[in-house]
């Protein structure tokens, strides 16, 4: 009789769970029976390059990073479209040329809009929008 086709998934799942858990369990047993734990303030410190950390690791990043990244990403993708456009430029019909031009104008319009909104201002308080 053929085994249940789902049996393989069960076997795979069993191996996938056992394989990482076994060394973890062995390490735990080793620590339990041989190695005395020696925690300490230095040893458990978050930063690990020899220098004492200053302040907390949980800080808020400025939203400007996000806005800059988004705007950069749009023009990064645009550059990818521009390369084949430039390569095939001489053999393009007028319609394709106009289509790419509209695409470019849309993006530039978006940039102008973002600029007008103050997305390119680094210091929010100075522009006060």
């Amino acid at each position: 009789m053929t085994p249940n086709p789902y049996l393989f998934i069960v076997v795979f799942a069993g191996v996938a769970i056992t394989f990482p858990l076994l060394p973890l369990a062995l390490a735990w047993c080793w620590r339990r029976f041989f190695q005395p734990p020696k925690p300490g303030a230095e040893k458990n410190a978050i930063y690990e390059c020899g220098v004492e950390s200053i302040g907390d690791a949980h800080v808020q990043f400025r939203s400007q990073y996000y806005l800059y990244a988004i705007i950069f990403l749009i023009f990064d993708v645009e550059a990818i479209f521009l390369v084949p456009f430039a390569v095939a430029f001489t053999s393009l019909p007028l319609g394709a040329f106009v289509a790419v031009l509209v695409f470019l104008l849309l993006l530039i319009e978006g940039l102008v809009w973002a600029w007008g909104k103050g997305c390119l201002e680094w210091d929010v308080k100075a522009s006060n929008r």
Binding site: F34, K38, E42, K43, A45
Partner: protein, 206 residues
Amino acid sequence: MSEIDEKLRSELQKQGIFVVKMQDLYNWGRKNSIWPLQFGLACCAIEMIATAASRYDIARFGGEVFRPSPRQADLMIVAGTVTKKMAPQIVRLYNQMPDPKYVISMGACAISGGPFKQGYNVLKGIDRYIPVDVYIPGCPPRPEALLHAFMELQRKIDGQKLSGADKAEFLKPEQPSEFPVPEFGEHDLNPPANPRTYHPPVVEKQ
């Protein structure tokens, strides 16, 4: 637990069956995969890099995995001049390494300050703050010397015991894993040495 008979062991070995103690297996495993902490301080570091590169190839001894984090390192190779500005960072890195951890003091500077011993800003030996397992003299030591120190360390690891009264230091609960980090004082580091680990040689006059 009774010891296995030496003759029986060799007889089994001929048949391809190896009987070892847990301790031997453990030491065999860890002595052949010593991961050093990746940092260099001065010109000795160049020799350390040469040791890790293809010509001398520390990978033959299982020590090629230089780790950038102390959390993953077993061995600290203090390669070069330790300035007093750098000493607290080194002790802190040593503290952050998990047990068992070992230290190789590489070169004259790391041992005693070397040619810069008279310098106001140079630590006169890293063993003032952390326990050192192997010292390599030289200015700088050749890569062969570092390999020799590595093999000496492997020999030391091989001889460490897991249980009993003479078991390895790192297995004793009372043995500290962290050592006090010196602070910058007005003229010198404060304290100038850790009295628990540093025992200066006593000169006896006849």
